[in-house]
Symmetry: C2
Subunit: 638 residues, 2 copies
């Protein structure tokens, strides 16, 4: 079955039928505001943290799947009074469409459809720097008759904390609050109490009416596919008080043959300083909403914001372009892998259609690795990320395995003990310096354990990372695995018979015996980067000292990590060899040499252009490097 194709020229993936086997989504947003957007306009958005500051409600693993998003219901009333209600993004009504197309582009998506002479277009994106989604809706009369249309928008608000929102009903059925002013619907739950922010769902034209109470809009026991208000054709101006606050505009649209009209919907997040929360008793201060909407009051303004986003992405992808004999290789390395790396950098797997956004936050290991694929795109953001990550490191060099993007604090629930983690900080910092030459970052003061009083330079963080591995070795001189190495499922010290208990967080056996050959390999893979950093910053003695530690580790691998044919994988908590001979373990390719980019660092820019092997930066998983470089000739053009 063919569901779509790549449009390389437009840098878009084009989905040609709505009923994809699973929702195919795009990630909107480049900075702090993000939206997950499926090919049928499903999904949700949040500000900075998918758990703590979620604007719209979304039900994972739902029936029907992907029910919930930014919906537009069209009620097309013909001259004879016959009524046709449909949803142009196919879902939630699964409307039969005469045309359908969804284009997922760089930070935006465009759904185009048509039914019975009425064409619909929705361009959805998060503008640069602003905290909102824009949905630019165009209706076009392709028929020969006048069209009378009632359009109803629909979103469902999340009461901010997405986890509480789906578990604590005793509370959250009682707290929903909204405020309405003209065409603007404000979601202000908890604003009276401890929040200084609200959400906004607005359209740039006058409305016939609105609804903010879900049950009023949908009717009893109705799904999103049969909202009572839409089928009755008249909004009820409901004001949510508790239960489920939603946002729906009712707009009357008259279209002559060939006429088009465009509407700009804005779904935004607004904050006020604590002392400027109120405009009057119980009336929220709308200044930030005014400022936000002032920028997107017309279709032209919204188009301009989209053009700026396009320019931004053109610039980003212009830094590293790829031509290859294999068109798919060029497309992947030149466009989609870089796009995906940026998404990964932004979300660090915290929110997708498989990560519910409430579970984990950002990974220490992951986020460092993500840098490799991202650092050439926006190095200054990579720099900020490195400092955030390093601040969650413990004074002994170990690290919280995860941290919350909003608070930037280590996640106590999962804790520490993933003994490969510290090494990835060296890997990430080295990648950043290789790309930027910014050795100054090494002198930045960074807290340990988010505690300013424990702050020291980033270089000291790297040093602690390095020696954490050196000093935490087992009987064979190989690194202790702790809870896991790169393979989170290799829990040599974690034994649990309790159903549902996480192997990652269960009490550690602390055998003092279980050793990971893979961590040893990572050590001799990133260790030379640390040595090189020392050398290049006038720390020759430390470089020599570290180099010796690497040699010692290589010795340990040779003596105890090599089985004659293959490297061992590990020693378990009982000292037993894991994956001896019988299992095929990856050989450690090129890991004993300093990675080539250091050598080229001192060459001219021109010379760098001539490199014929890819930077590790292309790929988030460095071990895949050799595999790629041998199969495909890649030329760096800019």
């Amino acid at each position: 079955m063919q569901y779509g194709y790549f449009d390389d020229e437009a840098r878009e993936y084009v989905i040609t039928r709505p009923d994809t086997p699973y929702p195919w989504i795009n990630y909107l947003g480049c900075d702090d505001f993000f939206g997950l957007f499926s090919n049928t306009s499903g999904g949700y958005c949040f500000y900075r943290d998918a758990r703590m500051l979620r604007l719209t409600r979304y039900r994972y693993n739902n029936v029907p799947s992907d029910a919930g998003g930014r919906y537009f219901y069209l009620r097309d009333v013909a001259a004879d009074g016959s009524v046709d209600v449909w949803t142009p993004s196919w879902m939630p009504m699964k409307s039969e469409l005469d045309r359908y197309e969804c284009r997922h582009g760089m930070g935006y998506s465009r759904i185009s459809s048509a039914r019975k002479g009425l064409a619909f277009s929705q361009v959805s994106f998060v503008p640069l720097k602003d905290k909102c989604e824009i949905h630019n809706i165009t209706l076009h009369n392709e028929s020969n008759a006048n069209k009378n249309i009632d359009m109803f928008s629909f979103i469902e608000f999340c009461l901010w904390n997405a986890n509480d929102d789906m578990t604590n009903f005793q509370r959250n059925f009682s707290i929903g609050e909204v405020e309405i002013e003209g065409s603007r619907i404000y979601h202000k739950t908890e604003y009276r109490e401890r929040r200084n922010h609200y959400a906004l769902w607005a359209v740039n034209v006058p409305v016939e009416g609105f609804d903010t109470d879900r049950q009023t809009f949908l009717g009893l026991y109705n799904g999103f596919d049969h909202p009572q208000v839409v089928f009755e054709g008249q909004s009820k101006k409901s004001i949510a008080s508790g239960w489920a606050p939603v946002g729906s505009h009712h707009i009357k649209v008259k279209l002559a043959p060939s006429e088009s009209k465009t509407f700009v919907f804005v779904l935004g997040y607004c904050e006020n300083p604590e002392d400027q929360k109120w405009a009057g008793p119980g009336i929220i201060n709308k200044a930030p909403a005014d400022a936000l909407l002032a920028q997107y009051g017309t279709p032209e303004a919204a188009d301009k914001a989209l053009a700026a986003l396009n320019t931004y992405w053109k610039g980003l992808l212009g830094r590293f372009t790829v031509s290859a004999e294999d068109k798919k290789m060029a497309r992947m390395a030149g466009i989609w892998n870089q796009y995906q790396c940026m998404v990964t950098f932004n979300m660090s797997r915290s929110a997708s259609y498989f990560e519910s956004g409430i579970g984990r936050g950002m990974g220490f290991r992951d986020s460092n690795q993500d840098l490799l694929g991202f650092v050439h795109l926006v190095p200054e953001r990579a720099r900020g990320r490195i400092l955030d990550i390093a601040a969650t490191q413990f004074p002994d060099g170990s690290a919280y395995h995860q941290y919350q993007p909003l608070t930037k604090r280590g996640n106590n629930e999962i804790g520490s003990g993933f003994n490969d983690d510290p090494l990835w900080l060296i890997c990430g910092v080295a990648a950043y310096i290789k790309e930027t030459g910014d050795y100054g970052i090494l002198d930045e003061k960074v807290p340990f354990d988010n505690n300013e009083s424990l702050a020291d330079t980033l270089f000291v963080h790297l040093k602690r990372s390095f020696y954490y591995t050196v000093t935490n070795v087992g009987p064979h001189g190989l690194p202790l695995i702790g809870r896991a190495d790169w393979n989170d499922c290799l829990n040599l010290n974690c034994f649990s018979k309790t159903p549902g208990e996480s192997f990652q967080t269960t009490a550690n056996f602390e055998s003092g015996v279980a050793e990971s050959v893979l961590i040893a390999a990572i050590f001799i893979f990133v260790g030379p980067d640390y040595v090189e950093i020392c050398r290049r910053t006038g720390r020759a003695d430390e470089a020599d000292h570290a180099a010796k530690a690497i040699e010692t580790m290589i010795g340990a691998i040779d003596a105890h990590g090599w089985d004659g044919d293959w490297f061992l994988r590990a020693y378990d908590a009982h000292g037993k060899k894991s994956a001896a001979k019988s299992a095929k373990t990856e050989r450690f390719l090129s890991s004993r040499t300093v990675s080539p980019l250091w050598r080229e660092w001192d060459l001219t820019t021109d010379a760098r252009r001539k490199r014929l092997i890819p930077s590790r930066n292309i790929l988030t998983r460095p071990t895949a490097l050799c595999f790629y470089s041998r199969r495909t000739k890649i030329t760096i053009l800019s």
Copy 2:
């Protein structure tokens, strides 16, 4: 709008239309297995713990509301080939019905409906002692023509841990496992790894086919209201592997005019000893399933189990019956309040349509109070509960505010510091002894903090409870409130500016100043029970000592807790009076005297029957006692 009525004779509430403003539910189950069952067959079931061992998936706050349950789809194929698909419980298809009725009775519910000459009846209950729901389905042909019907059952399995089930998709989309044998569908996710239990969804007749993969059954992007398999009329024998395991039987039913057929569906929970998990490689040991199903193989056997349940409830409610001039009073006190007290005892508010079953477990305070309304029904279970609760008490007399029903361990997340909690243990134990005369419970050894090495007698637990209040007093000699007193929202020491942070679990201000007059009142309300227990168990010195402490507390209330017109409510963390004069606080009625049931304890049974005031046991909230007793004459008949 009239949605139903009470049938006092049958002890049932009769719902006469399915589209109630909110799902109206019954609680099935008396022991360890429980089902929440709405008037349209929505809801879910679990074994012992709604969070840890949930059998079926349920989505709270869903759209449509209450979508998900035990569903039966009927596909009625007429002689001319025309097809009528409908759901006799109305939801999920919202089928138009010629008749509809739901009767919620004592531990069972009965849905009856009809459409186009086909009558349907569903009797759902949890049999005594067994770990299953039974759904007895009868189809009756009321038409003059033969009927050819395809019946499809449908449930959706939860992957046991209900919280993980709705958050951790990276994992749970990959782990679903089933096994099918004839008419039995086994849900065995994680059984291979750490679980020793599985779920069973079976019917007592041969099936045409089955489905266990949700998407196969429903089709892409379909809701429960339009399952593809049903509309196509043929099951696909899908075997779930990951994604969403469901259970659907496909049964062909032929009915002559006036003919009826009955089918017994069993939804059960089965456990195996660790060393008897397997019948063969990868094949689960089905012995417990065999044993379970052997009891419910025929409609007659299922009827017998229902009759036993009816007898059980008749016995329970026969212990305390009420005749009153006010029929509603008699109905409430004689039937529904007692029924509700049993439900509350079983669930302690941990699962309802407003408590998601994953949030809180059982309350220390709540569970003690629940005893008051339950103790006369099944005293031996009340006894067990008291010992469970007491085991979560800390050695200093304070207590975990909540504990998990499955593990019976204190809940660390919410912790301690609700300073009224300890006193309710005295209240609950006193109620138990008054009802049973079982002073022996005071000699039971009970751990502190679930630690056997800290165990001491239950009497010592009561003593520590009593003196926890005595020794934790503030500047006015009134009890320190800690995090809260009976009013969880009166957080005089808990200040938080962080949105979403719980006032109950945020770091305690620990002013050492905030005092609760209400805790003082609770103390002098339950304190005399402690004194009386001492006296009746030969602890005269301790009785005198405790009586003096009560007098001291009364003195503190009179001196510092009385404002001239009203009692104060509290002193806050800054020593400021709360609710002085301006606010109306409840007067402490009859709290200074020993409660009358002690005095009557020594009278003959006959004399007890003549009591004209209700026991506190009727009501879960003792303060409501006086209110009731003054308005209504209640006669205890047995």
